[in-house]
Amino acid sequence: MSASLEKGIHALKEVIDAPIASYFNSCVHCGLCAEACLFYLETGDPKYTPIHKLEPLRRVYEQEYTLLGRLKKWTGLSKPVTDDELDQWQELVYDSCTMCGRCSLVCPVGNDIVYMVRKLREGMAVSGHVPDGIKGAAKRTVEIGGPMGLKWPAVANVIKKAEEATGLTIPVDQAGADYLVLLSSMEIVNFPEYLEALAKIFNKAGITFTLASDAFEATNAGIQIGNSDLARVIVSRIVDAAERLKVNNVLSPECGHAYMAVRWEGPNLIGRPYSFKVVHVLELLDELRQKGVLKVKDKFKEKLILHDPCQIVRRGGVLNAPEPLVQMVAENYIPVADKQMWNWCCGGGGGASAIHTEEAEALRAKAFGIKKRQIEDAGVKTMVTFCANCRIVMEEAIDHYEMDTQLLGLTELLAEHLED
């Protein structure tokens, strides 16, 4: 196969830009980013300091794009980035970084560290330093259609069941609909109620929608690996379907990184703006709530807290929609101290949840500590979230710690309590 160090460096040379140059020149090694990283906070190991995870990128920047660095490289004074080093960094760039972006919020000089991690992954990918788990997911997405290897018949099956449960028609490949509904494999397999809930809500609001048989999968392992070429292949399916079906909007599912992929990275991957809008399902629900379309018949009684998925809230900008929706459906909503853009990651975003080595799983469990304390401090038995990946990761951790916390999807919770 063809991954190589040269290809990796070449990729980094392509992606290094003025912001990265500015960021590296601004870093004063204050280490405050470590205080925002759950992997550092929960392990106390300074190698998890976010800016340190970027060391190979920094060196390539310095050696390729600064005069002094070029001189140092030319005179043999600089330490070249080696394959072994990248191999060592794999754990730092993938296992222990969920691209949650909290570090980018606290850096006193303003460095967007997660932006740089995303760029470094471009080099890691083509130099052959991607963990097998994410690689497998990417392979399945490109070759089969989704990270879990799901094919359309399985989706069709879920659709059929949803139609039976709701008594509503769920259109497929219907041109001219308002919304093209995307799903994530995780929802199809583990939380099929999501589709039922959506069908009911759309029906009630009188909004037309459709699914596309060739573009049902919203997730994009290409951006998790950090390879734009693969990410483009995956996102293009959605763009092509949306344009073929001439929909006005594409509805991104609860899944966090899917929203990042379709909403924010997509146009940049295909190199042009979309002819349609990308809406996160919670944005749509909140809009319907404000219009008064969404009404609940009763409320969820027990105390609950909300987990804001990083890619949707902090990095995606869906800041204000979730809370009012939770408040509408829950009687005893307890806001946590670090909420919305200041939330703490579930510990498994950015592809980390697909890494199934023992070390990675142990690290994830450890990183969950901060979430665990949040749950315990609030004294709740229920946590609501709106990302299937967060939900799976946290369910695993809850099992690991033998806690009795139940996790709910927000859309699903809403659907359960909506007026019929």
Binding site: D17, S22, H29, T49, V109, G110, D112, P273, G317, A337
Partner: protein, 219 residues
Amino acid sequence: MDALQFLTWVRGPGLDIAVGIFVLGVLWRLIEIYTLGRKPDLAEARHAAGASGWHTVFRRSLPPPGMMKRSPVSYIGGYIFHVGLAIIVFLFAPHILLITNLTGLSWPGLPSQFVDLVTVVTMAAMIVVLVDRINKPAKRFLSTFEDWFTWAVTFLPVLTGWMAVQHLLLPYTLMLAIHILTVEILLIVLPFTKLFHAFTLIGSRWYNGRVNGQRGVPV
């Protein structure tokens, strides 16, 4: 070379050279960094970017929620020594005079006893920050020679300036000369080390603020 000749040199050719290298370095580095280009963001913005970059330039000067508690020394120590340096550099009468003579701009200074106090507090804060760098695992782990070196290069002008004014250790003339020399070293070193954050910090905050501002996140 006696002290007055030394002083004459550092005030004359020495400063010419230092300011020259500083100006050269700053322009070179700024152009080197900011002409590397970046792709326009093609995703439809949630909010027009507007002044979000500038908002972050200012907002990032305040500690984000919870961070003051996690690293009080970084923030309090950092504030004191940055503000202290600004007071010393821009509000000490002899320094204002220097700027006035160079640029024609003038503003009132602070009583030198007050500046004196600020200097002592600033030095204390810098020492505390240094100790923090040694004590905190993440800081110590990240530290390279450059971190210790730039600390010393920043600390020395403050120390020597204060010692000159206080007539400590060496005669005033020699101390003043050493003070100016240390400032020259600082000027020469600044564009080529992490001290350059004094300039790039604005750009970095702006980029971060703008990219995230378009997504609707006031970082």
